[in-house]
Point group: D2
Chain length 334, copies 4
């Protein structure tokens, strides 16, 4: 029989925590909110939900969130707490307003679900006003140091892959080249995964300064090998994006080339299981972190389990794409 200890010690004496989502929305954010609310409830801690991220925080858009309020949300895309950008939060005055509201609500810590920009916003609050802040990595780009994966990443890859599978139908039928741009302004994680899983001929990522012309030779070879249609994946952050790559192919090979920019659909949709599970674990971990007296860290998950990374490290370091996987993409496109 497996022993479960559901009670987590609470040396920090936390009685109430606040939670918000910030930055671009990511599938699984609701699962993370739900996990925060329910893990807290299981420990007798109350949760205050802040609407519209930091923008709502400095305006005091807050309300109590109970376990039933997050029922039937684990499978929902987007974020029930809404998200927004806030210029006011970048000012000390804005943050002071937010801190005032948090104190008024008697909150012992703030959980910020978002990317490194959002962690920045939270970190300033903690530095200036002493309110403990815990980051939960929620962004589709997977570009956060300190966790193997970020919440939303798996779903974004799946959505992009589904699109690639569809485009391949047309590419193969018309023996056409498709150049597909996926999200990733600063990182090629999505692009690389989609390239391997989609059986792409080539992938362009911001981490590698591979000259655009190389693709022309690759496409030519691929046609000579008898391939029907080719799929080229380009990360948004690669210089020039998919359009530049497509233009180069069209000019260099004369083959019919189509450019497809997948865009925002990659942010939406019901989260896949891996994102829901990761969000559930990290949401739970964030509550325990506050109870343990942690502050100014991001909870992450690596093979070894839950980890804490000081917030500044999440934006000072970058997370490399896997070179092994990059080789795998190349080797299997033979």
């Amino acid at each position: 029989m497996i022993e479960i200890n559901e009670i987590h010690p609470n040396p920090a004496g936390i009685k109430r925590v606040a939670v918000l989502t910030s930055g671009g929305d990511a599938p699984g954010m609701n699962a993370a909110i739900r996990a925060v609310v329910r893990a807290a409830a299981s420990q007798g801690i109350e949760v205050v939900g802040v609407r519209r991220g930091f923008s709502g925080l400095h305006r005091g858009e807050m309300h109590l969130l109970g376990p039933r309020d997050v029922a039937n949300t684990i499978q929902r895309g987007g974020t029930i707490l809404l998200t927004a950008r806030s210029r006011t939060w970048r000012t000390p005055e804005g943050r002071a307003e937010g801190a005032r509201y948090l104190r008024e609500w008697g909150v012992g810590g703030l959980i910020v679900i978002g990317g490194d920009g959002s962690f920045h916003g939270g970190y300033h609050l903690q530095e200036e006003h002493g309110i403990p802040v815990i980051g939960v990595p929620g962004t589709i780009d997977n570009d956060l140091y300190g966790t193997d994966h970020t919440i939303g990443y798996f779903t974004a890859v799946e959505t992009a892959l589904d699109a690639v599978d569809k485009l391949r139908d047309t590419g193969a039928s018309h023996e056409r080249i498709f150049v597909i741009e996926v999200m990733g302004r600063h990182a090629g994680h999505i692009a690389l995964d989609v390239a391997v899983a989609g059986g792409a001929e080539e992938v362009f990522i911001p981490e590698d300064e591979k000259p655009i012309e190389s693709v022309v030779e690759i496409v030519k070879q691929s046609v000579e090998k008898g391939k029907k249609g080719s799929i080229i994946i380009v990360a948004e952050g690669y210089d020039g994006g998919a359009q530049a790559v497509g233009d180069a192919i069209q000019a260099g090979t004369g083959l019919e080339t189509r450019v497809s920019i997948l865009g925002h659909i990659q942010r939406g949709g019901s989260p896949v299981s891996s994102d829901r599970i990761l969000a559930s674990r990290l949401g739970e971990a964030a509550v325990y972190a506050l109870m343990d007296g942690q502050k100014g860290v991001m909870v992450g998950r690596t093979s070894g389990g839950i980890t804490y990374t000081p917030l500044p490290e999440t934006w000072q370091n970058s997370k490399d794409v896997s070179h092994d996987l990059y080789r795998c993409a190349r080797v299997l496109s033979i």
Copy 2:
């Protein structure tokens, strides 16, 4: 007990038919090819598959297709016979070459799966060389007169709707406007269905010359009503497309507006049941039509059952969008 008569009379004495797919690929084309091959086999008729549409026909890219060759294809997107554009086919010489190959193969009729451009190509062949041609409506746009729906249409709507559902997650979370362009160069069928099914605030179609400015008022009202995020659907063929509509909204309301052009993903993917069933019925009907001595007609399906429409009528007439549905879209966006 339901009596089934599987034997269809064959006054035309057909022994062999050819089949090709032409124009843009559409989900369900494989189901139609399969139906042609198997319906023919069930009547003791052989089928010659032509690869790469008319382009392959004038080059003689042909081979026999048996019932096992189309096994496990009903669920596949694209077309196993490939498709291509052909300039040569637009010349009498090109068509003469095609006719020569068809006669060499002893073919008693040609089944063309595609849109009105493809039917045009087939019609010329019949006029000039006397080879009976039957059209099967395969195009995602649903813009063919003579059939309630075209093969591929249902899947395209479903794919676009899935994207709309995903974008709504983000739209609602950020309280943002999404302007989404769906396929339909000359017709608003996809756009209108997606608008109703996607719960859009507004839809722009080529059939209605509604001024672009009207959308600004609609979006403003929608915000006043308390709607979180708005979805606007624009058919590709509407003047200026989604970009123009998005620009107008951004300029007129100042609200954050995102434009998303869904593009070619709408052509791919495993066909939904309605497309597979329609393709199965029309592929079967095309074989029977040749056996009955029909020529120069498109087989279609309306509520009354299978219909024959002379090929020229398919491009001389247009199929209206439903005005009732157009009103429904408006009424339900309140």
Copy 3:
């Protein structure tokens, strides 16, 4: 420019209507509720939502539903108004209670979304208490006379088809027979559509008393033809169900046979576009029907447009499966 007249005449002087869902839930019920609420609102009519079907009606579980209350529901499976069975409603006393509540709320008509059992319940109410009742066909089985399709049917077929596609992967890999039971207690509509769209070898429906032994010969032939794996579809209502068919095949052929009963997953999921559109149209039509002074009819949709069928006819008549499609299933399984 397409003229839209959004104002519907209201000779019946309707000011408020009630709506409920009853019987088994079906995907698209929420889209129908939304359409009722918004079509009513567009005509200045209020809507009272009744929770838990007739069971909630005789207990007075009612509340006003405005256009914003149904926001973001069109894509949701199940029914936000809940549904339940009610023994009390089968008694005159129970119905008198319900009528009393409806009068208290000042309701000019009741819209019942459900199947023929639910229409029965509504019809009694109208007969005994004079409250106009309009039926909206919501059931996955498609077994309602008076409409080409019922709300939920398209999604159920799609869900079952998706399962068939998945089972075929395994069936083909193991060269195994799969016997798959789909919903349809009294009708073979789902089974037949799934059989054609899934490329099944054989289909058993309640409408045809085909002896179970015939399947043995068909499966044997299918193996001789070189088919890898076979798919047999059985409607729930066929004598003995899938288990009996599977046992007969195993006993008669010695081939590895697996029985899969899809069950309740066919009721759930986000409705496909066809169900959302049908629900939107019929929900709108139900409101207009009350305004027109209709009572005791089901709104349906056939090729000709919206139709009214007296409620008793919906349960006194049955809707045949298409014999043409039945033949098509057989012909294409060659």
Copy 4:
């Protein structure tokens, strides 16, 4: 610029390898076959595909597989090499036949994609005939020691989760209990993941001997908390399965309870990205392992990268479910 070395040293002097799939099929097996074929081709090594697993091996059902033969297979469920059970292989004579064929084909090593039963079969071959065997973990159950995940597992979880999401629609609408049985004869990995991702109230796995009666109390509490409908997940290998759990709930609470056994659909479908990527990496690694002179090991993937586990360890050890995740499932069901 990222340096890629595509050439792997070949001290073992491998010129040709054989590959087969064995045991229950799993989504991603085709991606693994493709990876073996293409990684080998990239190193100038030929690949012999064996059809129908060990059953085909002792009958010599073998053929060369080139890079184009595996085109367009990465997204396909099932296995293009087919799979089957073999009694003959359990005899020394059967294995001797297989060894003879492998030598005739000049094969320097055999790659077995499957579960521990299949590895057993391969191990005997190596022990008796000296042919190097490499195992690739392909089974949906994830119950193989020596790798964090097995190929097919992620897709199976996703398929089961999709079913749970659908059943919840009905469960919530009818306020009903659903007891859902997922695959896992000896292990609760799928069940636990699905429980957390599906927001289940309770999960029963073979690893924990929790008494069935405990569920009655949990369901009662869940109703008292105001939950609409409950989801209970049961692994196939839990004593009595879902039926026993469902019976206990019905008897103990009197609430309407439905049992749903998901069955074989969990094996099929297009593999999700995580399975395709894992399969690509492990297929590539298996080829390199043979080139490195490895034998009698399974290639696996853990956080640290590619690992080799002696085949006997894969069946002598068991892989625990995560106790942390088990607690998480409980905590979040509050």
